[in-house]
Amino acid sequence: MTRILPKNKLDDCIAAWQKAGYSVLAPVQRHDMSSFDEVQKASDMALDLILTERTIKDHFFPQTEPLIKYKISKHDIDSETMTPPDKKRIFFGVRPCDASGLAIDDPLFGWDYKDDYWFRRRNNSVIVTIACAEADDFCMCTSVKLSPDSTKGADVMLRPLASGNGWQIEAVSERGTALLDTVSPLLQESSDQAAPVPQVAEKFDVEKVMEWLADPANFESQFWKDISMRCIGCGSCTFLCPTCHCFDIQDEGDTYQGIRRKNWDSCSFALFTMHTSGHNPRNAQSTRWRQRIMHKFNYYQGKFGVNSCSGCGRCTRQCPVDMGITETLQAITNLPR
């Protein structure tokens, strides 16, 4: 016997959480785009999506975030730090890859300087993951040693029932346990079986990839030029990636006042490494694509012991020229050794 959350209790569940002071965010399809956004009822949710187009990263590390408000006067600049609100949030229906992405990024935002913006939101959030019932051609979680039912990054794990009537529900962290306590009357004990987890084939051998990347001889390999020739240098893969975390600090304002903001930035952009002098150490798209792969599967691993990829496959799924991590890592796997 396991505890289940029946589908017909989901509305009550949301209501209970809202009563407990939470905002509930779930996959929604709005304005021709799927993303996580606040919901009021179960019918607002788009839980059947394999994956939302946007990741939940947006709600922890937004695309643009005000940091400091400043006012300029003749002899002074007054500034005021802007902090994210203390708002309790539940992310319901997060896919394991997206949840993993948060866990992958935690060490980055906390290793030297604890990024208050990230952690305040992390600490105020409960991640309710739903194991995948379906995968598509682009899914590659298994290739990065995760799985369609991974609990990494999750506080509560849901597994869809084969009957389709609800989910097996299990707290996988203290925060998760606390959350379930708020709705325990709505949960039932049942022997219903969970739906089978989809088979996601391994598309590349990540060990072999890491080994190849680690060899300094390959840094200047022609391989990078050939594989990235198609890349048009947009930031779509990085901005839709659940783990990409580069940002830029910009001051925006007029003569009298302004706001210092933290904005997403992308290693795909030529300007990312452009020096004031005009010199650009990554002066070709191939070096930028190499940086992205190296960062994810070499540098990050070296610093934090984990690869900066959770296998969601969005990079390929949304790429205007059908590139992506999978193709590159497949190619590296298949390189003659």
Partner: protein, 149 residues
């Protein structure tokens, strides 16, 4: 609309015709609404659509773009180029919901001080009727506040 609403109007004008026309309004002591702020450019050809967007961001409720009558451009053809740009930019603004009534274009010659004064009064009155351009100004306010999560 509240009685006290005083619209902010930004005018981008060429120095040879409309700026001079505004000067003439001054020397003729014609009275007009104090709501307009004039930005002087050498020619309408120099007036970039970006100016209009920035004026809106800075809270302009209406924008006026004005220069020499066709054929009278001090720079021979600057106003003809400008006219094309305006046609296109205006269509773009209209299509994205920025009301045409808020972005006005005119030819005011150096001799048309009265036309300038009348025009400013007319735009001020019209803008008072339209009310503040809150829809756009709201976007600026959003920037200044922290996200709700």
């Amino acid at each position: 609309m509240s009685e006290s609403f005083e619209p902010k109007i930004v005018a981008f004008v060429c120095t040879y015709c409309t700026y001079a026309g505004a000067d003439l309004a001054g020397t003729s002591r014609l009275k007009y609404a104090p709501n307009v702020r004039i930005v002087r450019l050498p020619c309408t050809g120099r007036i970039s659509p970006m100016f209009i967007l920035k004026a809106l961001q800075k809270g302009a409720d209406s924008v006026l773009v004005s220069g020499c009558h066709p054929g009278d451009c001090h720079f021979a053809a600057g106003n003809y180029h400008a006219r094309r740009r305006w046609t296109v930019f205006r269509a773009l603004l209209a299509f994205t919901g920025i009301p045409e009534e808020r972005i006005r274009f005119s030819w005011v010659s150096a001799a048309e001080g009265a036309k300038f004064a009348d025009l400013i009064n007319e735009i001020t009155e019209d803008t008072k009727k339209l009310g503040p351009f809150t829809q756009y100004q709201e976007l600026q306010k959003v920037i200044e506040t922290q996200s709700s999560y």
